[in-house]
Point group: C2
Chain length 187, copies 2
Amino acid sequence: MQMSQKVESFVYHFGEMGSKWGFNRTVGQIYALLVVSDKPLHANDISEALNISRGNVSMSIKELQSWQLININHIPKDRKEYYSPKGSIWDMANRVFEERRKREIDPTLSLLRDLQLDSPADESEAFAQDKMREIHDLLETITQWSAELQRLDPAKLNTLMKLGAGVSKILSIKDQFKKSKVDHKNE
Amino acid sequence: MQMSQKVESFVYHFGEMGSKWGFNRTVGQIYALLVVSDKPLHANDISEALNISRGNVSMSIKELQSWQLININHIPKDRKEYYSPKGSIWDMANRVFEERRKREIDPTLSLLRDLQLDSPADESEAFAQDKMREIHDLLETITQWSAELQRLDPAKLNTLMKLGAGVSKILSIKDQFKKSKVDHKNE
DNA sequence: ATAAACTTTCAATAATTTCTGAAAGTTCAT
DNA sequence: ATGAACTTTCAGAAATTATTGAAAGTTTAT
């Protein structure tokens, strides 16, 4: 399998970035390749296109499955497994956020909760525990927000953004709304 | 310098997690230590508390500076540099988001823009380019949203969350508001 | 100008992560 | 039950990333 110049740039770039997004280079490349392919690919296609060993493809596919990022398809009369990306691009982003949250935020939240449990032994420990609580609260807020954002469908989100209406604008609309209700009462 | 048991757990955990958040173990540990310390620390304090070489402390401090996460303080009559975390916990989170955006999203956006420039050579390239555009749009939306969120002060954000009002709730308020304006007209 | 008290640099080394490929495992048709 | 066509596993090799510590650099006081 030959990649076009464009696809190649994309795939390699995604490989480099992928490692910053929580999975390794190969996993990133494979996923990128699957996303821009107009048909599902089998392991040998992938191994050949990306010049990586068959074993590596197998491991990476497994990793992608653990992130729930791919589907496995079968073609009648063909014993091979064909892989394709699961869901929309928006779904992908959600999965990645979700998975990262599980791996990176949840354990921290749970540790911080534990460390709050018993009371500080002295002044400096009180200070430390206070900071830990701050971080805990922040992480919890972030977690809640991201859950909210995931609940929104992307079309709605996009329309809002395109209108130039950011969160602050929405918040001010909320204020106006409250105000407007008060005005009603005062009429 | 001796760390209390609690601080030690926190610092080591932060070290492990740090590596997932874009900086390495040592950098994470140092930052965590500075955050929970009630006074600024100098390089030897850090080196001793964390059992890492003096050189490593120097490199890591430099890294933290590049993330704009620490302040350098001086104490009269003392030649040493004393380090402390810069800004609030919320500021820290913003810095980390911001820095990661620069390193992880911006380069991708710029590549994807470039790849859109010339028109597809064939059908399959058209498909690929279309997917790339989708990803581009998504990343742009995320970037805009995160910019908006950063503009909000944390207190406001927190109050909103505590009220149980997520984004979707706010959006529905927005709808009600629009509706209410229409009602006015029809009155 | 010197020396003391620091910080920074960087080549060598250590630790960690990723990748390969041969061998073992699985599934299916006959 | 066998073998063909696949996939998975995993020990060792390769690549990458982090750390040390000695030497060089900087700053300040005298």
